[in-house]
Symmetry: C2
Subunit: 446 residues, 2 copies
């Protein structure tokens, strides 16, 4: 048997016998000649077969040739097969400048001829049949971009001696808040909660003396909302570092990290992203602009938009406004909004002694929040006070507070939603499009 | 303020002012001189201070010097601090050949003076205080080994164009079996299950035309057992590839992958693992030995051990016996046991047409199973028959069976437990020791 050749390798190969394996994208079954477009994970190639039809005058025909023609006529879109044949370079063939004259076909598994979706089916229907939807070239590209992006993040960290941790997703207490929490029965009388973030456990690594850590893992929120930016399960990108002076050290790491990872994506997939998504992967310049929240609210107001929220935070439209301002003023896709009021931040955010504001930031990418970062409060007495102030019972937080009772370094970090970054990088309208299998309040399958 | 110097960088630095940050490991408070061993994520260094005690005759003393001495006398083990002082190379200092003469100390967070555990506390007690347990140098090393190992795996895959996926952990149906399953209420009237493995979803990537994929992510089993090899949540290393001829293609990839990753660990941490764990990280030669299960049972029997199981599988003692045989015969730590009877394999394992045995393997490392690998059945009619034979209702598997109704390539893959590999590589007695935060039937915290 000839060894499999990937479609992307065909152009560099000399004419001669080859085997390619993939799935049928289209069949053009003309009277005298048949064309099959076969796609694999690297590209598509045209297979060609001179049709041999039963002679109208009943005269004898080559049995194998007849059978081959019939097989091709009956090929359903999506059928996976291996094709053996003669590779021929021909500049007139638009698809890669090569074609394969078929000698034989081996069908691995024939597809049901009625494909339930098309590229323009509704998002819900495409999600029902996500495994077919993912065969589209642009969907495949999303996950190759994801792979490159994540590997670049990890490479950045590993070159700087970060430790990778896998924190538990089953917990005895909520990791962030009592709202939007999935609970389950755990061996009869216990209750386990699904981690809403690795927050407590990545801080634990700091008091364990790990210095710098990262984790890329699922997180869970029983969030009933149906927006384009929310899911009940999502991939969270987290890092936490010790011995920082403020959240500014975290921001500096994150912007460098993102520049590095965007560069990797631009280098490897820039042209293809441009072709299939019509957007340019822009490698962000550092430093990213930084705007304190109070100033951001002023800027938004001066642009004629009054944020309707009463808690002093930006709303999605406010975020878009500030992003437009940053684009116009700095030509930048990213902006750190800093210095949030403690009232709208978690109890564990450290506060600036002079201003009373938290040493924290949100990072917006094209007007959408992708990250919250902060320096954490590591002094247990201050932490208890801040928890009480938020109406939390320190008793319930004891396992977490214990972390800080036996010594702790100043530390901070960030969490970033993978799907949000991909969505914005590729100019997609929803995280559903860039998630392998989306999970939402009414979506648990496939 | 002087910039922080990592302890590992001190030796290469010239004598002069430095700042180091870390936690107090020990204090030796002698009458005339005080020593503090300060550890950070890279090593430990001796800080030294000439003690200034209140004069017995009541004569005046330097106030700052008195305060510094008192501060050091009061330092609790575990206190995190930054020390400023004068670095001095001195070959007589055993710990790294340097010491720092203290100028000043900044305490970040003082530890409670009563440390609840020691290095020789019981495993349960150490787990209660895991964040302190992890400060031990050898525990820290475990996670640096983990980091290097995983990055090598991913690098191997990425250099070969694998796609990284994040499959959902919330599912509408069980992913493997109805036993040992965690269930939770999902938005009122729905039930979600936690994925026992990414099995179905990594196969889905194959019918989606992804070609080759990997995932490293948590998996969940409501397994009530308390062995050294089981956890209710564990990190599963998974890969799946298309267009294979048999499980042999999967085995070949896995042995190459492991050789590559063990090499990375040996290169980076070999000496330190030898020092702290007393074991050599052996880079396995390829190919690994392969022994069909029937032959393995014969070998075990000929060594005087009769496997008490009636299902024809090896038991843990049988696995140890075959590992001893392999070590004696081939000088190898790994062995693939192949050709399992369908009765002891999942319904989706493909069967050999001639022998009727599954095209699957288990991989043993030092006598413990770390992996099951297989070619999967991709023909939907055969798959349905095999499911029925196992007493499964194909109706309940419909979402999975659908994957194969619209074309599918021949494919296969493996799942490997990260903690088991680390445990065996480092010669540890339990996966609990090599898991960041272990989860078991009675262990949900911290």
């Amino acid at each position: 048997m000839t060894e499999r050749t990937l479609v992307s390798q065909l152009h560099a190969r000399e004419d001669g016998l080859v085997s390619v394996s993939g799935w049928v994208e289209t069949v053009r079954d003309q009277k005298k000649v048949q064309f099959v477009i076969l796609r694999d994970e690297t590209g598509a190639v045209q297979l060609v077969n001179p049709a041999t039809r039963p002679a109208e005058d009943g005269s004898e025909q080559d049995v194998a040739a007849l059978a081959m023609t019939e097989t091709i006529s009956g090929l359903a879109t999506g059928t996976f097969l291996t094709a053996h044949g003669a590779l021929k370079h021909d500049e007139r063939v638009k698809l890669g400048g090569v074609e394969i004259k078929l000698h034989s076909l081996e069908i691995a598994a024939a597809a049901n001829p009625e494909t339930p979706i098309a590229a323009d089916s509704s998002p819900e229907k495409r999600m029902d049949w996500r495994f077919l939807d993912l065969r589209q070239r642009r969907n495949n590209l999303i996950f190759r971009v994801q792979t490159t992006f994540e590997h670049a993040l990890r490479t950045y960290w590993i070159e700087r001696d970060y430790i990778e941790v896998h924190s538990p997703k089953l917990m005895a207490s909520p990791s962030e808040s009592n709202a939007e929490l999935f609970a389950l029965e755990y061996f009869g009388d216990q209750t386990a909660y699904l981690a809403q973030s690795p927050q407590f456990f990545k801080q634990m690594a700091q008091v364990s003396g790990f210095g710098k850590i990262f984790e890329i893992a699922p997180a869970f929120r029983a969030d009933p909302s149906f927006t384009s930016r929310h899911a009940t399960e999502f991939t969270s990108i987290d890092a936490e570092i010790s011995w920082i002076d403020s959240h500014e050290d975290v921001a500096r790491m994150q912007e460098e990290l993102l520049q590095f990872a965007f560069q990797a994506v631009a280098d490897k997939h820039g042209a293809e992203v441009q072709e299939l998504f019509g957007v340019e992967v822009q490698v962000p310049a550092i430093p990213f602009p930084r705007i304190p929240l109070a100033e951001a609210l002023e800027i938004v107001k001066s642009r004629g938009y009054e944020v309707p929220r009463t808690d002093g935070d930006l709303d999605p439209e406010g975020e878009r406004q500030i992003a437009a301002y940053v684009r116009e003023t700095y030509g930048h896709q990213f902006v750190f909004i800093t210095d949030y009021h403690p009232g709208i931040r978690a109890f564990y955010h450290m506060r600036d002694e002079e201003t009373g504001l938290t040493k924290s930031y949100d990072l917006l990418f094209n007007g959408v929040e992708i990250t919250t970062g902060a320096q954490r409060e590591h002094r247990v007495d201050v932490l208890i006070e801040q928890a009480k102030e938020k109406g939390l019972d320190p008793e319930h937080l004891n396992f977490y507070l214990d972390f800080f009772r036996f010594g702790a370094p100043p530390h901070g970090g960030f969490g970033m939603g993978l799907a949000r970054v991909l969505m914005l990088m590729l100019g997609e309208s929803s995280i559903r499009e860039v998630t392998y299998l989306f999970r939402g309040p009414t979506r648990l399958a496939p």
